[in-house]
Assembly symmetry: C2
C-alpha cells in the first residue's frame, strides 16, 4: 500500500475522466462522497485510488485499494466535481460487463431507449435498487452510467445494479424469442393498475422527449399506461418518475 | 399593446429575478420555453412581458400581455437561464396566494418540510398535476416555487397546481382539528400497499437528507412506508420519487 501525494498528473487524470472517451481509454471512472465510495469499497468493484481526508482513512478499514492519498479540503476541491466536496473521491476500474440472456430470463428488468439526462439515469438506478431490479439495459445512444453526474445521483446503488449498453432492437427481439413479455408505456396502453404484471419480463421506457420509437414499439407485447387525472394528454410524467411508479406496481403485484 | 426593444434595464430586471428577494420586491417571476409560456398564457396568471422569436408571436394569438418584445437568438440567449433557450421567455406576476382550510379539507393534498432541491420541487409539481392534486403546502424554509429552476422543471404544471408556504406546525395542527388524516412516510410505517388510503387528507414528506423532523412527526396520524426489496435500511428513495409512488397508490385506491 502506497501513500502518495496528490500530483498534477493525478489531477489531470481525474478531470479527464469526466469524458466517456477518456474513461473508455483508461478503463476508469470517478466516484465521490462518503456513502458512494464506502459502498463501492464493500462491493465487487476494484478501487484504484482513494483521495480522502485523514478522518475518512481513520474511520474506514480499507485494504483492497492500490493507492491511498490523504488530501486537505482545498486539494479535494481541486479534483471534485461537486459544489460541496464530501471527504472522499475514488478512481474505480470500469467493470467488465457482459449481457447474458440467462441473467435476464428469470427476472424482471427494465430497458431505456436513448435516455439522455444523467440525473434521470441516476435516479432510475437508485429506484431499481430499491425494488430489487438487478439489470438495466440501455440503448447505445443513452447517457453513460459512469458519467460523474449519473454515479453521484445513484447514491451508491451503482454498486448493486448492472447497467448494460446494447442494440435494443436485437435485445428485445431475442427477449421475445426467450418467451419474455415486453411491456411498454404508451398513451393507449391498459392501466397498470388493471394489467396483469408478471415477475419476469422487460419494461421498455422511451427517450425523455420522443418516447419509444416506432422501430421499438413493434416489439412491445403488453401496452401499459399510468392513469392520470388529466384530460390533456400532451402532459407527461418525467421518465424516471414513470419508471418508479410502474416498478412499484410490478413490485406490489409480485410480493 | 406596445412593441418595444430589449433594453439594458429589461436584461437587468430579468437577471435579477433569479433571486427570491428581487422576485418578492418586484412581485414578478420568469418562465421560459414554448410549452410553459403557452400554458401560462392560457391560465389565470398575469403575463407582463413576453420576449420571443417572431415565429412564436405569429403562431400564438396573445392578447392578454402588456408588452411583447421580438428578440433574436443572441438576445434571447442574453436573458435566458437555459443552456438551450427555447424561443420565448416571459415575465409573469407573482399570484396572490392565500391558503384557506376550506380548499384543503375536501381533497387530498401533499406537504413538504424544508424541501431544498429545485428539480425535486419541480418534478413534484408536475407529478401532482398528473394525479390531480391541486394544493402543495411547503414549510417556509423550502425552496421557492418561483425559482427559475423549479418553474422549468414543472413543465407547465405550475399553471395548474397551487404551492403555499406556511408554518407546517400550525397548518398540520389545524388540519387534524378539521378531522383530516396526516399521513407520513416513516421507516416503521405500514406498507402503502396494505394501508387504507383515503381521498382526503395530507401526506407529509421530509427534507431530502433529514426526513421528517420529530417536531412534525408528532402530527402524523397514519404512519406509512414504501416497501423495498432491500434489507439495508440506510438506503432511501429520492423525495420526489417517494411522492410519486405514494400518490400513485392513493390515486389507484380512490379511482
Amino acid at each position: 500500500m502506497l501513500y502518495s501525494m496528490l500530483s498534477k498528473n493525478k489531477i489531470k487524470l481525474i478531470n479527464s475522466l469526466s469524458l466517456k472517451k477518456n474513461r473508455d481509454e483508461e478503463k476508469l471512472f470517478v466516484a465521490e462522497g462518503v456513502k458512494i465510495v464506502s459502498e463501492l469499497i464493500d462491493s465487487n468493484f476494484e478501487l484504484v485510488s482513494i483521495f480522502a481526508h485523514e478522518d475518512f482513512f481513520n474511520a474506514n478499514n480499507i485494504d483492497n485499494v492500490i493507492e491511498k492519498i490523504t488530501v486537505n479540503e482545498s486539494e479535494l476541491k481541486s479534483i471534485s466535481n461537486l459544489k460541496t466536496p464530501n471527504q472522499v473521491l475514488a478512481i474505480v476500474k470500469l467493470p467488465a460487463q457482459e449481457l447474458k440472456m440467462n441473467d435476464i430470463t428469470n427476472q424482471f428488468s427494465i430497458a431505456f431507449e436513448d435516455i439522455q439526462d444523467p440525473g434521470n439515469l441516476g435516479t432510475i438506478i437508485r429506484t431499481a435498487d430499491w425494488f430489487g431490479i438487478k439489470n438495466i439495459i440501455c440503448s447505445n445512444n443513452s447517457v453513460n452510467v459512469y458519467n460523474p453526474k449519473v454515479v453521484q445521483a445513484t447514491m451508491g446503488a451503482i454498486s448493486r445494479v448492472n447497467v448494460f449498453y446494447t442494440e435494443l432492437d436485437t435485445f428485445l427481439k431475442q427477449s421475445l424469442e426467450f418467451g419474455l413479455k415486453i411491456y411498454g408505456t404508451l398513451l393507449n396502453g391498459e392501466s397498470i393498475y388493471n394489467h396483469n404484471l408478471t415477475d419476469k419480463g422487460i419494461v421498455l421506457f422511451g427517450n425523455e422527449s420522443k418516447g419509444i420509437s416506432s422501430e421499438l414499439q413493434k416489439y412491445i407485447s403488453n401496452k401499459i399506461s399510468i392513469p392520470s387525472a388529466l384530460f390533456n394528454k400532451t402532459e407527461s410524467l418525467n421518465v424516471s418518475m414513470a419508471m418508479g411508479i410502474v416498478c412499484s406496481e410490478f413490485f406490489r403485484k409480485n410480493l
